[in-house]
Symmetry: D2
Subunit: 438 residues, 4 copies
């Protein structure tokens, strides 16, 4: 791992996807295969047990494995060699049954799926925490009025709770997405050299292995990689949604806007030369990952047209990238939890910013009110004229409109932020209600 | 459209996503909005009807619209202007209610979703045809034995039906995928300037608009674009799966392999200088699209971190790319149907190729048979030795093994392709059964 | 072209790369080939002249060509057929010499290079204009002090001229880049079916064709596409540099910052519902293109590993994408010229923003001054303490420091923006000097 | 590093870009900065020497640094803290001058450039070896006739030397490319917080630092990242060119083609279940990297639009990716050298494959010969007819043509491969000559 293993990544996820853990999952598959074959009467039970007892990472020389794998081109080949030797040292007879009927890709792919399975559990928990943080923010800031911005311009008021509620929805949709893809992704690969199965891999064995590993049964997907691609996509979408959150927060942290702040820990976001700055250091990590993920997802999509029954290169290009996608996603989610836990909301500054345009952000409000009287176009033109005058004279739009004898009984009300937030509160309530009903 | 509009694309899909059709969908949204507002008593019904009667593409000056949109930065702004003018020419009063309460993005996004909806219908039909072609191939070639290949090397026999059955499964999974994302993707966008709704856009109106358009209701996703990203991903995965089919076919069409041929129409795949060639011209189009799609999907993922309540640029970068993804997918699917409809299978050449290695592709078969006698490692070593001898002497492996006094009663059987295809037939049958049970 | 052909693109570049223009370049290659072969005595001169006289786009049925190309898989095959027929109608003998010895790819590739050549000329002129606009801005705002920002936080003062001078440098580097790649990119492709040349394509003919077309001679690059990739990269880098300019401008246009404005034309950047807004509508187009380009460049890189002497698909995936890269680059450059021509600089707002932090942006200045007295760390700590106090009390840092009896004779000077801009002016002068010396 | 650190990567390059080496380069910059400032009279020489003596990686607690950097968001901040403390322990006075006037990005960026510089030296040497291997292959196989293939179909003969000569040219062009970008890429970054320089970083210091580090001087490129993008592009192009070589070799290694073989080392390319296979295990590693690189290059292009004077996220997204690009390039080049060193050429199989089509690959030859008699179109049609007959009757084209009384005196000659290789030999000679004249 690089210098930045704790900045862009999550220690826990790095651990889940470490070399040792990868080897452990591969050994687990070999062990379970032996057990399933024993249960189906294909190999003797005691020998299967011997095999299982040898499937331990501390028996494996990982450095040697890393060198040896170059010749064969994947990690399963030297691992099976080492494992067979270890088993042989215990029981020569048992060594005949190691990896029986299986092919390297069975082991590599199923181990990858097992790592995805573990990561999925980790992710589910973290996304629940993330959702809860967003729920809390939404509840707390249901009525915290701020300006809504389109094309980086102040547009009209919303509440901060509306913003976080919509963030929340995007995370909830990813949670639904994960649920809906789970069955397609958590599948066993166990079909032998060319995906046709063989006498040692009858369907019963495949199913039993799947069952023990809590995976779904599937026919060969050795060169049909849509499940891997789908998993990459789901995570890419999640990170994109989170990137939007970090983008918003980093923009709202700008000195000139100052509505939000990353939590100030010891030295957090400090600059080496400008002690007063509160840099969006967590946002920067999240946004960095956000910039990388789409390209990693595309790598997996580019690796889909795999040749024949096993690819010469495209399968190989998945290995590190699928892990990297999960590791960067892990880091992104972990950073985001920290970001939201520490987020400081400056409500006073939000109020100040609402007044920055001297009433111009209420133009749509006024315009719509006028529209029912004089029609949209005319209303639009009148407001445009008044706005220009307000800008030129640096005066409040309300004053200008009053001078123009605009006949609106509730003019004052139209310039109150709480009357300009549309259905923000209802939307928030419904979003939160829908969640609690789930 | 480019010179290659009929090669990489589908005329039908190009038509669905044409400028005129885009404008038509935008106008449809404006019309339905007026109707829904009328039904909710927000605007007078007769005026709404006037608006609807004006929502016709033949009233719109598209060339002018293309020039005018530069100033505002999206197509809805000049369209609403033209529409308002048209309505005004009919009824000044009605013109006050055009686009009432809505924002440009409401119109642009909902129109895009409507185009996705139409494309989805088109695609569903085409994927059914594609599946049926694969089912037919699978049934026909259930027992057509060919060699399976891993890392571009002959490995051991399968049947061509197994290959096509696994292709079929990947298409079926995409069909399931489309079903599972439909609800998240076919949603209305109708929340006004900053996503908060307003007095003219109460929830009742939003719901009614959604209902009339046969879309789901949704709160603002103006800057939460995970649904667009998901749609891009689903299509990217589909094209990847199809790319795998075209990759296989193009490789099997190689002069030296010659197991498959693209159908020979008038001049199909001809070379300008080599009249005898049967180029994989359809495969080339599909593979070209396959190379482009991952990058277009990534573009949509890269456009996700949209700022605040509407982005300055990232939203804009979606417009053409979402269309392009659907257009290239359309072309890819259409070409694939043509490819499979015309596909010629050279069973004789498949048989010849099975004999090319003089028995070496049966080594796994023999190896597994020997393994239960002498253990995997020893069996492996014996076979390796015999294979080397067979290669060196250019003789058949069976002869060599016979000379080595390898004690296997069913040696002949082990070298019969029909005994080396594992569970191919059972797998095929189950895949086809599962489909017909759906 | 799409609805947005005038927003994301340049009409002039679209024209250069239109279907008709593509056909015209292909015909030009065919004509020049005949001439060169005549000059080398390979074909009779009068027949070559007949061929040339037939190489006119108005003789070609482009719609038919678009349909016919599907069979052969590229545009040259049906074009040569049509051309041969046209020539035959004029002179049967001459028709025997059309496209003699050449292969489709020779024509398609050389025509592409000719379009690149034309686009390069267009681009050179536009980049000169762009540079000049940046030079003018730099000169005009050499001393216009504004705050420099790091990680979206106010850091310390620079001048706006320094910012534009550094923008300028990135454009100048691209101009140097184009110069340095030109020779590798503007090369003829003319090597026959498998790149080996033949009796009708001796080196003399290849060289003569190159010379007439003002291209460099090259051996076959039919499946060695590094030159295409390099061109894609150069344009991708250019658009990235321009994207940085648009990003800065759009951020500086934010309501709360308001230091820059896109020029206000009739209706420019207007919002359909908020008449007062000055949206960064041009920046949005540029940033949209900026988001798309990297992925298109990657498509070309992904298409590099082309099989054998001509690829089945990867070559095909270049065609539209190379054009699209040039078209989007064209639009990006054109929009940027408009953006800079109309750019409004609000110097007053720049001054106001400099005071926003009540002196905090001068901390580095003060810190460095103190450092030589008390060491960096202690200085840093003192400033940090003072800054916190200033923030908490909402007072000016200078006051706080005065109260702390910080012993700096030139304290006032340290808080003057003109003393906090480092070497900005010298840097600007040197950048401008270096340019004028070129 | 992952399990596959020796498969996809180069140990030497991994070492060059390791954490320790990164820290070492950063310390080197800090040391050289102090020396340059001393030489310019800005800090006392003895104190600068103290600083230099402390710039040793073994003094640094890298694990602590990895944790500490999270707060500040880059590695320079905690490194400067640790360094300052170490210097302070030696000489309190000296500690005041550590990192004087510099900003974190100065250190991070310059250290990255120094790593690029080291990698460039490594790469230059390796590319020379690679070129030499290709030169040797080209010389050896100048006249080794094989079939050329277009769209995966046999087309007409070339020599293997022509193929390798064209591979060679693409590598040579990358070498030229590296030369031409070197000056733009190997530049110092040393401009202080906002790129404006300051009293401690006058131009003399910047120049001196550059000179000592053997870099070019440059003004701030803190948010103008075209040089990083250009370096990424150059490597992406190189890997693409190499990918083409591996693609060709892997295809030529197919069982049915068998013209090339990866060298057989102990267990090389062995399959765990099929002992006879000679898998393209090295090609697979190269092709895997080839699939990944374009997307990593695009990541760097996507990170170009960096905000203001330093980006919040996009700069951060470069760090690991620039390294990854170099590491994967390193592995790719190293694997390719191994691949070419061990490459086995099966000339006999090349001859056999030339006869596979029973003369059809000579159709262009015959066609061109006939064309001068009867015109291209008629010749083409005659050949087409004869070819179809040859295919249908499984007879040699020459026989068919003889039966058709085709009047070509040198018919036999037209079917000799050595007369069908066009100008292959001349091209090879010229390519080799040009190289040796350099």
């Amino acid at each position: 791992m690089s210098l930045y293993s704790q900045y862009f990544y999550s220690d826990e996820v790095n651990e889940l996807l470490s070399d040792t853990q990868t080897i452990a999952e591969m050994l687990r598959v070999e062990g379970v295969l032996a057990i399933a074959q024993a249960e189906q009467g294909i190999i003797p039970t005691d020998l299967a047990e011997t095999i299982v007892s040898c499937c331990r990472t501390d028996f494996i020389d990982i450095e040697k494995l890393k060198t040896d794998l170059i010749a064969g081109g994947n990690a399963a080949i030297p691992l099976v060699k080492q494992l067979t030797r270890i088993v042989k040292n215990n029981d020569v007879e048992a060594s005949k049954y190691v990896h029986l009927g299986a092919t390297s890709q069975d082991i590599v792919d199923t181990a990858t799926v097992l790592q995805i399975q573990e990561f999925m559990i980790w992710l589910d928990e973290r996304l629940d925490i993330l959702s809860q943080l967003l729920i809390n923010l939404t509840k707390k800031h249901r009525q915290t009025i701020m300006v809504g911005r389109t094309l980086l311009q102040q547009a009209r008021p919303i509440t901060f709770g509306l913003k976080t509620a919509l963030w929340l929805q995007s995370i909830e949709r990813t949670k639904a997405r994960i649920k809906s893809v789970e069955d397609r992704i958590l599948v066993v690969q166990l079909s032998g050299a060319v995906g046709s199965g063989n006498a040692f891999l009858p369907k019963e064995v495949q199913q039993l292995v799947a069952e023990i590993l809590e995976l779904n049964f599937a026919f060969s997907w050795q060169s049909a990689r849509d499940n891997m691609a789908e998993w990459a996509c789901v995570l890419g979408i999640l990170v994109g949604s989170i990137g939007k959150i970090a983008k918003d927060i980093s923009l709202l942290m700008q000195t000139e806007i100052a509505e939000l702040l990353e939590g100030a820990g010891e030295g957090k976001g400090g600059s080496s030369t400008m002690p007063h700055k509160r840099n969006p250091a967590i946002c920067a990590a999240i946004l960095a990952n956000t910039n990388r993920l789409p390209h990693l997802v595309a790598t997996i999509l580019s690796s889909m047209p795999q040749e024949h029954e096993r690819s010469a290169g495209l399968w190989h290009s998945e290995w590190e990238v699928v892990s990297e996608i999960m590791m960067l996603t892990g880091g992104t989610v972990e950073r985001t939890i920290e970001l939201l836990e520490g987020l400081e909301v400056n409500e006073r500054q939000m109020s100040i910013n609402l007044e920055l345009t001297r009433g111009l952000i209420y133009t749509e409000n006024v315009s719509l009110a006028l529209a029912s009287k004089m029609g949209k176009t005319q209303a639009h033109e009148l407001i445009e004229k008044a706005s220009k005058q307000a800008i030129a004279q640096q005066r409040h739009l309300k004053e200008i409109l009053a001078e123009m004898f605009v006949d609106l009984p509730n003019l004052d009300k139209l310039f109150m932020p709480e009357h300009a937030i549309g259905n923000s509160l209802d939307i928030i309530d419904e979003i939160l209600d829908n969640l609690s009903n789930h």
